[in-house]
């Protein structure tokens, strides 16, 4: 950890020269970036938040300039000579030199400290730990380009750097960009044509509204959220057992996004849906948030495993909702961010009433994690049906007993055993008179009908949820070095000190309470409009998924080891906008989508590319590769196989026996789904932790065991192999060929062009038609393929095109 910091700083200094966002040796010092890491690494262990040896404490400005036990001053702002710190780190006397262990400070480090002291030794607060400020959109020269405030913030920086924004993208490019960005699916050619034909100035905002109203919007954006909350449907470890009804949480997220549930409510439901004023099935399903993580049903160290579960919840909550890597403070104070171990356990205490996923002795999640959602009426109806059947069964039994009494003693014995059924079948009739027998048969008919009725009832609806809590939890201790076996001081639930909020007063739960009432307090605090991180973190995520990366690129880490925003004022503007708009996300989506910034072309401009190759200034729209899911879904749309069915239990894509053979029990926990189910969107794919579908992982579907802030985008030959050889792509190529033939007939030229149109939403070029015809010609003439098979290879080629996989 400590060495890593040196490394990081070294690299920044090494590479800063020549970069647009220059942070070179002549640039003014930045305390957080340049100075604090040195202090943290070499000084804080003895002169930080927890220890103040010699009366020196360097982690805040006030104490750093105070008099030491010796009467000297470690730091005298502006006066290097008088600052004892510099003398102590540079002295040749080894007994005197600080730090007492390890190598002396490097000369550049000393130089940095000197420059910092000389310039006044300012302790600047990290940008994210200062509440957002209201910024008016800046003035710009090219006012015509500004459609909404986003454009003003972006253009101001471009103009400052002497760049122009890229021209607007053409309508077809724009439509495909937005269809994928908003819904994760390509437009159909009919949808696209309608937009191209609409020449009204409001055509674009109209399309944006249509897309935001599409049910596919929730599916696409739910997947982004599911990455953050490490959604999967099994527990990992040896048994990797199923989490029944986890899919309801996935559906809850889709529905919440589609109905534009305010983000603050969305958070409150997930963190405290069981403690709200109005508890609904939805708010209970939301608490599955606590049940999504991995769970060891056979832990070697049960106490430690319990705290690993807490850590999973706390780390995920910190990163997903607050952009804070609070997990770093589990074993010791955070080395860089102002988060202490007490902050960590103070937050953990809010979750103290969260029971484990299941009791390890029973391994059955029913009690702790399955919530019965039946209404009282439904429960009463089910009970009534059961009683009816029981009553009829008693009648039937009474007649049976009449017959049994007439049997031999030996048979009467048998009637008390499990062999009774066989006995009655063989001998009852001859021990009853005709009217008894008729009556018996009539009763049994009624019994069968009653049982059938019970069978036809839908099973009781259960949801994965925080179904049981520990309303009076044990006190939470700070754990020394993170060990569950080394409890230290007791901590009360409290918020990290950097937020400056008072310790909340949480009354003890009533004797008959269901939960401790702490999580709701935490949820209220996170969703308070005053919380300086929640809104910033969320608007940044929306930005990230439209532009390929956030204004803050480390979207789960707004702390000091994260990356500063490229457009800090814009970030604050959007954060306050979200809160002002009742935390509703769709208006924010609309604002972004209708900006000119979003509508820029992705075409490069030499000068800007040379000066700002990573497009920090947003001089163009960054092209991107489709995600694993988009690629899967877009293929189904192109081939006409797409099944838009929403919600419900997930489907199992067919996995090869080689893939199943990696399990210790091949096929265990994996079902079979009919092909139309398999043509549903990939967000409905069943996610088993130890058996993630290779088609997804090949295209960077993330590991599902911890929160994922951003997908990798790798390019590797396994992807080419999957797209050329896998059963999925070959089947889809055949479907595309069939669809093409149905639409274009037998004429090869028409077929070639039609396949392009289905896959790429545009007419084929002359070159493409020639290429397709040439391929089909070679395949039929040189490889003796039938024309329909040759077309299949052309369709496979089309699905493999870069243009199919990348968006402009």
């Amino acid at each position: 950890m400590v060495r890593g910091i040196v490394i990081r700083v070294g690299i920044i200094l090494l590479l800063a020269a020549g970069s647009v966002a220059a942070t070179g040796a002549n640039a003014p010092l930045n305390f957080t970036r340049d100075v604090k890491p040195i202090l943290a690494r070499r000084c804080f262990a003895c002169h930080g938040a927890s220890k103040h040896e010699g009366g020196l404490r360097l982690d805040n400005a006030e104490s750093a300039v105070a008099a030491l036990d010796s009467g000297e001053h470690a730091i005298v702002p502006g006066d290097v000579e008088q600052s004892a710190l510099i003398a102590r780190v540079t002295t040749a006397d080894e007994a005197e030199r600080m730090p007492p262990e390890g190598k002396p400070l490097a000369s550049q480090e000393v130089e940095t400290l000197k420059r910092w002291i000389k310039s006044g030794a300012a302790y600047q607060k990290h940008w994210a730990f200062v509440p957002p400020e209201r910024h008016a959109p800046p003035d710009v020269k090219n006012k015509l380009w500004v459609v909404n405030p986003i454009d003003a913030f972006v253009l101001a920086k471009l103009e400052q750097a002497g760049f122009e924004p890229a021209a607007a993208a053409d309508k077809r490019t724009l439509a495909r960009r937005a269809y994928f960005g908003v819904t994760g699916l390509p437009p159909t050619n009919e949808q696209l044509q309608a937009f191209l034909d609409d020449s009204a100035p409001e055509a674009w905002p109209r399309l944006v509204d249509t897309l935001l109203a599409s049910p596919h919007f929730g599916e696409q954006w739910a997947r982004h959220w599911l990455d953050l909350v490490r959604f999967a449907e099994t527990n990992s470890f040896e048994r990797d057992g199923l989490k029944p009804n986890a899919w309801r949480y996935r559906d809850y997220v889709i529905r919440s996004l589609n109905e534009d549930k305010p983000y603050d409510q969305f958070i409150r439901e997930q963190l405290a849906g069981d403690e709200l004023e109005k508890i609904t099935n939805d708010s209970m399903i939301a608490t599955a948030y606590y049940r999504l993580g991995t769970w060891d049903d056979e832990p070697a160290d049960p106490q430690q495993a319990r705290y690993d579960e807490f850590d999973d919840i706390l780390s995920t909550t910190g990163q997903a909702f607050l952009g804070l890597t609070i997990g770093c403070a589990r074993c010791h104070d955070h080395k860089i961010d102002p988060l202490t171990q007490s902050d960590y356990y103070g937050l953990l205490a809010f979750f103290a009433d969260v029971t484990p996923y299941a009791d390890t002795s029973e391994r059955d999640p029913m009690r702790f994690s399955q919530w019965d959602m039946s209404t009282p009426e439904e429960r009463a109806r089910r009970a009534a049906l059961r009683k009816k059947a029981d009553d009829i069964r008693a009648e039937s039994r009474a007649i049976e007993e009449v017959g049994v009494q007439r049997m031999s003693a030996a048979d009467q014995e048998v009637a008390r055993t499990p062999d009774r059924t066989a006995l009655l079948q063989n001998k009852l009739e001859r021990h009853l008179n005709v009217s008894e027998w008729t009556q018996y048969q009539e009763i049994n008919k009624r019994l069968a009908a009653a049982l059938e009725e019970i069978k036809n009832q839908p099973p009781p609806d259960s949801a994965l949820a925080l179904a049981m809590c520990e309303p009076h939890p044990q006190p939470t201790h700070i754990l020394m070095r993170g060990s569950a076996h080394a409890p230290g001081d007791v901590v009360e639930p409290h918020f990290p000190a950097i937020f400056g909020d008072a310790i909340p007063k949480i009354p003890a739960a009533a004797a008959d309470a269901r939960s401790a009432g702490r999580r709701r307090v935490l949820a209220e605090w996170i969703t308070s409009p005053r919380n300086m991180l929640t809104a910033r973190v969320m608007v940044n995520r929306v930005w990230q998924h439209y532009f390929g990366r956030g204004l803050v690129r480390s979207t789960n880490n707004f702390g000091e080891l994260g990356t500063p925003p490229t457009h800090p004022e814009l970030l604050d503007f959007l954060a306050l906008w979200l809160v002002d708009h009742n935390w509703q996300l769709k208006p924010l989506h609309r604002l972004i989508l209708t900006s000119n910034t979003y509508q820029m072309s992705s075409t490069a401009n030499e000068r800007a590319l040379a000066a700002d190759p990573t497009n920090d200034l947003l001089w163009r729209f960054d092209p991107r590769r489709l995600s694993a899911e988009e690629l899967h879904d877009a293929t189904l749309v192109a081939t006409g196989q797409f099944n838009p069915k929403m919600f419900g239990p997930g489907f199992y894509p067919t996995l090869s026996k080689e893939v199943l053979a990696t399990q210790s029990r091949p096929g265990d926990g994996w079902g079979q789904s009919p092909s139309d189910e398999q043509a549903r969107r990939s967000v409905y794919m069943h996610l088993k932790r130890s058996l993630l579908p290779p088609l997804l992982t090949a295209f960077d579907f993330p590991d599902v065991d911890a929160t994922c802030e951003a997908r990798f985008v790798t390019t590797q030959p396994g992807q080419a192999l999957a797209m050329l050889h896998s059963e999925f792509f070959n089947e889809q190529a055949a479907k595309l060929a069939a669809r093409t033939t149905a639409a274009a007939g037998r004429d090869p030229q028409a077929q070639v062009a039609q396949a392009i149109r289905f896959a790429l939403n545009r007419p084929a070029t002359k070159d493409e038609v020639a290429a397709g015809l040439e391929l089909m010609d070679r395949l039929t003439k040189q490889h003796n393929l039938k024309p329909e098979n040759a077309l299949r290879y052309w369709c496979l080629t089309v699905l493999n095109l870069n243009e199919f996989v990348y968006l402009d």
């Binding site: 060495r3 470890f237 029990r665 790798t714 030959p717 059963e727 870069n802 402009d808």
Partner: protein, 486 residues
């Protein structure tokens, strides 16, 4: 900053983080090619480099080993029946004694001794005591460094396997093979850098979690390699497609893709993707070639026991392991045993039957691997690891029989080659083998030793994730096992 240093430093961050923080504007080509993995900064990178996240990287320290072959004895072999000689247990069979044990059956404080079931004899110049389960391996002890005081944090298969493979009890972290490839890349771009070969009995408990790349890109995950059929998933042509037909498809594809790229010349990820198709075409030749053991002499096949049913499966995989490291694959992991119960070394019932079976299937092949590597001059640069996720208890699990429960308090692993000493044994368990008592080693020490021998500094090889520099060996510095380093 030297290029070596710079490269090592770079491991402190994900490529993306690194770039974001640095703010862009690099000139160094070597760096750019490393950065291009995620397509984020690929504009100035060579297309071929973009296509290959496993591009070889210089190691931080002088490397003694280039490759690793990890022979995973899944289920947990009993150390006191194999390499940890316990002469004082002789004659104690059936005695009930006080001993603390912890296995799947929970914590116990006494048990019935099951005396080691095999005779031990001294082997090699070093006079190492080896049980008669391993007549062939006994011939190799002068090349082996035995670690008799291994400990792990879990005596349960699921978490135990995860710990041995990833250093953590929970899933979600990269496997040792992922770390090695992340740190060093792989010199052969026609083959995966991290190969896993499973036993015919099936996969191990946890399945793919054991070779997952966790929070690293999936490119660093283990690739399952098979000795028969298509060696890698989706490598073989679909039925009906011939290689010349695929060539025609690829040529058509490349021409279209190049036209598309010409309009977007700055986007080198497009060129990279074009390159991956050629690479995948080459892999279809190279991977089958690597598993084609018909190129080996009959003498070699006999050496590995491929001519005998009992040793054919593991022998074939050991021979493939040698062929893969010859071709530059960095990390090869072979599982001995799969599935559940007696399909692996998990001898809860009949110890004799279980261990006779699994040792019988692996003894000759492993000895052959060591000898073959040595005679080809490859043992010096190939680190071979042998061990399970834990060992077994000195006492019986049940009232009857010889079955032993799991034991993570003390067990044996061994390593050979890769710049390690041979004919040495370090650490010791108590007289019963119930727990490590002399210089106990943790799984982390083995991992640190592997990284060190490959020229990676175990305490600096880091990956920035979740706000922390994550390391295979954890936060606290860990020393490699110096006693066995030559």
């Amino acid at each position: 900053m030297s290029s070596t240093k710079r490269n090592r430093d770079f491991c402190g961050r994900t490529r993306r983080e690194f770039l974001w923080e640095a703010g862009g504007g690099f000139g160094a080509a070597a760096l750019t090619s490393l950065l291009s993995l995620d397509g984020f900064f690929s504009r100035q990178a060579a297309a071929a480099a973009v296509a290959n996240p496993l591009m070889p990287k210089p190691s931080a320290l002088p490397a003694k080993a280039k490759s690793v072959i990890y022979l995973f004895m899944y289920g947990g072999p009993s150390h006191i029946d194999t390499f940890d000689y316990k002469p004082r247990m002789v004659g104690m069979d059936g005695k009930t004694i006080a001993v603390k044990t912890f296995g799947r059956g929970g914590h116990k404080s006494e048990g019935r001794i099951v005396e080691p079931r095999w005779k031990f004899r001294q082997r090699g110049d070093c006079g190492k005591w080896v049980s008669d389960l391993f007549p062939y391996l006994g011939e190799c002890v002068d090349d082996i460094a035995f670690l008799h005081s291994m400990t792990a944090e879990s005596p349960i298969h699921g978490s135990g396997l995860l710990m041995m493979n990833t250093g953590k009890l929970q899933s979600g972290s990269p496997a040792l093979g992922s770390w090695v490839n992340w740190g060093l890349g792989s010199p052969n771009d026609n083959l995966p850098g991290f190969v896993v070969m499973l036993a015919r009995e099936g996969g191990p408990i946890n399945g793919a979690k054991n070779w997952s790349s966790g929070y690293m890109p999936a490119s660093y995950a283990g690739t399952i390699f098979r000795a028969t059929g298509s060696p890698i998933n989706d490598l073989s042509l679909p039925a009906g497609t011939t290689r010349p037909m695929e060539r025609d498809v690829l040529d058509t594809l490349a021409r279209s893709n190049e036209r598309h790229h010409a309009a977007r010349p700055d986007q080198s990820e497009l060129a990279a993707r074009i390159a991956t198709y050629e690479l995948s075409y080459k892999m279809q030749m190279h991977a089958p070639e690597a598993v084609d053991i018909s190129q080996e002499t009959e003498a070699t096949k006999r050496l590995y026991g491929i001519d005998r049913e009992q040793t054919r499966d593991f022998g074939t995989r050991c021979l493939l392991a040698r062929r893969l490291v010859e071709r530059g694959v960095r990390f090869v992991q072979l599982y001995s045993g799969g599935g559940h119960n007696d399909d692996n070394w998990d001898a809860h019932g009949d110890l004799v039957a279980n261990h006779s079976h699994h040792a019988g299937a692996t003894d000759q092949p492993i000895a052959a691997l060591l000898k073959d590597l040595k005679q080809r001059g490859l043992l010096d640069e190939t680190l071979v690891i042998w061990g399970g996720e834990f060992g077994r208890q000195p006492t019986a699990e049940y009232g009857q029989g010889t079955g032993r429960d799991h034991n993570s308090y003390g067990f044996t692993m061994w390593m050979a080659g890769g710049g390690l000493k041979g004919g040495v044994s370090v650490g010791a368990t108590d007289e019963l083998g119930s727990a490590a008592v002399e210089s106990p080693f943790h799984v982390k020490h083995v991992h640190a030793t592997v990284l060190e021998q490959l020229g990676l500094d175990p305490n600096r090889l880091a990956y920035f994730y979740r706000g922390l520099d994550q390391k295979l060996v954890g936060v606290e510095p860990v020393e490699p096992i110096r006693e066995i380093i030559a």
